[in-house]
Symmetry: C2
Subunit: 332 residues, 2 copies
DNA sequence: GTGAAAGCGCTAACAA
DNA sequence: TTGTTAGCGCTTTCAC
């Protein structure tokens, strides 16, 4: 319709790789408009071997909870915002712990993805099978939350649970607390382990005894948290402070403490972990450890884009650990 | 390597459209294994014009909140679980209200998607521009939360806010309440309007006056909810019950009421809306209206798959309204 | 039951 | 600056 070859149309659309005269360019643009023409992404992808798509593989234990964690939403937000700005699309894919890697292998090796961001809830070697499948996709991959085994050479954006819990616990010790409890999460998740470890290290750093009775809870369920708190309160010498492994657990603890007539923080101090939206909204506002979830998504997007641009380069293969920070509010 | 033509390989991989002899089949399968061969999705997509991908377009007012609403996560879960089971992938795309439709047009008309699920927060005609862009993709589309204008002929999975709020308010009236307040959400969202309307209709159904002073709040922010509750309590004749437009608002109200020394439900009854995870976890447990978010995602997935299978058929073009239900718990 | 070959819509190397 | 054309990797028609 513009009276030119397909090559020129391509040059116009892509601004290259060869120049076009302004008048031809104009004619082509008008024809495109008139015909309501849109390039087919699959044909282009087939030709240039780029799909403009990044996969977000979210690994978790339960298919119905993959996207429900407070993390996922923020991470997804950071990721999509950044990728959209660079004309990349996001394909989300739930991957269940223990699932046959062949399931995700189908997506991974189909050539649909230019890059991959994978949320890991465990540390190596538990994630090796999944990462092995990902490595066969032969595209840049950035792990978030936890890093993968070094041999894969993937980038990672993590945060330091251990240090966060250490800071929270140390803060309580400085404030004069000597019997500090930990309300732990599901230890299958590395973050739960890290938070427990940070708590324990803070105690030992200050020469405080590690009383096993002061560590309660072993999953993320509210009911477990409730009974854990109850057990703490029934101890011969109850704790004067609690470090919870998540804000959610802390909220439940807060409820339970109040219900039993304890004032927070006067009778018992409480610190959460994550700094979810709600933390600043309850009364008293929850003292907690801020984890920069949205930044993680953003940073992961940036890194994976670098990896894609680099064509097998390795500048992106760093392990970035974002700082976590104790936010002092009303509960400790 | 298997000593056969590419045609036969294709027949083996796709189980058709022509038969293959068992021995050849076996040879091909072994070669596939040995070569670690995986079909390229883009080449196949180019040829058969199917991408095995469904787009989830999430419309909202703020780029940073698109995926943070309690709805998004559940919807995404329902959607991905169902689509994964049918070998379809999900591409998520944030669409901002008022944004140039050309932005999403790029994705929509690129031929990447076999079908579309779009979350709408407004009613027609506000969504016409977005749906116009979607209709140019020429693929089945299912709206969720709110339906689009009839002329587009898209399917929809919705739920009845009006009726939910009506049920909640009516319940309070039956329990003897006569001064019932409504803590409203951001009226730019149709659900906020629907919930307000349901509340008002329930009052008028029972011949109760509609006191404008009893309707407070006009966004989803906690701070607004707090000041709204405060205003209610300072009224010459304060309400004895509050119907909130969301669980989040209700939680804030619950906090604020307690803070001011009111017992819930003894002094003031409270009903939320959504039945988010937390509703059953606070003490007292929140009485609320259950909205089956995950089902919505699941149902939308099923419908869009029907639309894709139907090849322009119209069986999927129904508007499904899922029931909402008052869940009696501890706050009313 | 199998092979040869066309062609999906695009890009880019090569030729002019 | 533009046109011609090969070919990305697959499916499927047509011939055998």
């Amino acid at each position: 319709m513009a009276g030119v070859s397909t090559a020129v149309v391509s040059y116009v659309i892509n601004n290259g790789p060869r120049p076009t005269s302004p008048e031809v360019r104009e004619r082509v643009l008008q024809a495109i408009q008139a015909l309501d023409y849109y390039p087919n992404a699959f044909a282009r992808g087939l030709r240039v071997r780029r799909t403009n798509t990044v996969g977000l593989i979210v690994n978790d234990y339960n298919a119905l909870e993959v996207f429900l964690s407070p993390y996922s939403a923020s991470i997804l937000t950071g990721l999509t915002v950044q990728l959209k700005a660079h004309n990349y699309y996001v394909m989300v894919y739930p991957s269940i712990v223990g699932e046959d890697p062949e399931v995700s292998g189908q997506l991974l090796r189909s050539g649909r993805l230019d890059g991959i961001v994978v949320r890991l809830v465990q540390d190596p070697p538990a994630t090796d099978a999944l990462l092995e499948a990902i490595s066969e996709a032969n595209v840049p991959c950035v792990c978030i939350e936890r890093a993968g085994a070094a041999r894969f050479g993937f980038g990672a954006v993590t945060f330091d649970d251990e240090q966060g819990a250490h800071a929270a616990t140390s803060y309580l010790i400085e404030r004069g607390h000597r019997r500090i409890a930990h309300l732990s999460g599901d230890r299958r998740y590395s973050i739960a382990q890290g938070r427990l470890a940070g708590y324990q290290r803070a105690l030992s750093d200050r020469g405080l005894p590690a009383d096993p009775a002061l560590v309660v809870g072993d999953d993320w369920a509210p009911i477990t948290a409730r009974s854990g708190v109850k057990r703490l309160l029934e101890l011969p010498v109850p704790p004067t402070a609690i470090v919870a492994a998540s804000d959610h657990l802390a909220f439940v603890a807060l409820e339970e403490l109040r219900l039993r007539g304890y004032r927070v923080p006067e009778d018992i101090a409480l610190i959460g972990f994550d700094d979810t939206d709600l933390a600043a909204q309850v009364q008293p506002q929850l003292t907690t450890v801020h984890v920069p979830m949205m930044d993680i998504g953003l940073r992961a997007a940036t890194m994976v884009l670098e990896g894609i641009a680099d064509e097998g380069g390795s500048a992106y293969r760093q392990i970035v650990t974002l700082p976590v920070e104790l936010i002092r509010r009303g509960t400790a």
